[in-house]
């Protein structure tokens, strides 16, 4: 199967991503993150977003997952495992974002390979500030997850986008 054939299983991939994002936040941090299905009327996404991306590749083809996390959601998670003093001295948000992206994409890779793909997964990376993967064309999946934000209202906590990369495959 070619990578573009992921489009044929996009519904299953979206369901798996949704399950894994929710499970990861719940299991690791006890946080309740829910998928936004339609008609979003909650708060705005924080300007302080944290990005993490991962490429799945098969031969010379690749697709890229891009995750955007609300800074405050990651801060809530980080505060459960790191002291305030540590967090003041050490930025951990990108590490946290990378790990969540890694877990989600590992599940997707396993699913795709069970369907007949032969994908390999690269290591998580932080996209450059001048890249805006969430606005890329050719997207296959685009979803939002919300969480109880610091103001008590639902805020968008996570956005996930899957698109055909088109970039040269860089094997790690």
């Amino acid at each position: 199967m070619a990578m573009k054939d992921i489009d044929k299983v996009r519904g299953e991939v979206a369901t798996l991503v949704s399950q894994t994002v929710r499970e990861t936040f719940q299991t690791m941090f006890g946080q309740n993150v829910q998928r936004h299905e339609a008609g979003w009327t909650g708060g705005e996404f924080s300007e302080n977003a944290v990005y993490a991306s991962i490429r799945l590749h098969q031969g010379d083809e690749s697709v890229e997952f891009c995750f955007r996390f609300d800074f405050n959601l990651l801060l809530q998670a980080a505060e459960l495992i790191f002291s305030k003093e540590y967090l003041d001295a050490t930025p951990v948000h990108e590490e946290l974002a990378s790990e969540i992206a890694n877990i989600v994409c590992s599940k997707v890779k396993a699913f795709l390979n069970e369907q007949g793909f032969e994908t390999e997964m690269g290591f998580p990376f932080i996209p450059r500030p001048d890249e805006n993967p969430l606005l890329s064309s050719g997207e296959m999946i685009h979803m939002h997850f919300y969480y109880p934000g610091p103001g008590g209202e639902n805020d968008i906590g996570v956005s996930v986008n899957l698109f055909v990369d088109g970039k040269p495959v860089v094997r790690s």
Partner: protein
């Protein structure tokens, strides 16, 4: 229940991700472990393992550079590390990976996202494995 005292055990956590290292460290501390070292890559892990022996080594399967899997294979070929428990930690949950890890000598296998309850249960089993290995080793030696 294992006879092994957790506070006497030396544990090394190897993962390139700071958050995973800390999560495992927190879980181990909550269980009563006192001596927990960390390493961010295989080279750092090798330096620490060869400087002073550990009872349990948690290894990230996939890391940039030498993987945790490759590192475990190397140590499993050396009888000196027969009583050391190697626990593979990975987001890979496919059954074939579990089989592959066990076949290569992994004592246990923990999948991410790490659940504290499952983590503690697996570590208790690892302690029993260490008891058995140490007993076997002392009987044969």
């Amino acid at each position: 229940m294992s006879e092994t005292k957790k506070e006497d055990m030396r544990v090394l956590v190897v993962d390139d991700n700071l958050v995973v290292r800390k999560l495992i460290e927190v879980n181990l501390t909550n269980m009563g472990f006192k001596t927990i070292d960390v390493a961010a890559n295989s080279q750092e892990a090798q330096d620490k393992i060869e400087a002073a022996p550990y009872n349990i080594v948690f290894l990230d399967w996939n890391m940039p550079g030498k993987s945790g899997y490759a590192l475990m294979q190397e140590y499993r070929e050396d009888r000196k590390y027969d009583t050391v428990a190697f626990v593979m930690v990975t987001a890979e949950s496919q059954e074939r990976y579990v089989r592959e890890a066990v076949k290569a000598g992994a004592t246990s296998y923990i999948t991410k996202p790490i659940s504290p309850a499952i983590f503690q249960d697996k570590v208790e089993r690892v302690l029993e494995w260490i008891d058995n290995r140490v007993n076997q080793s002392s009987q044969s030696g």
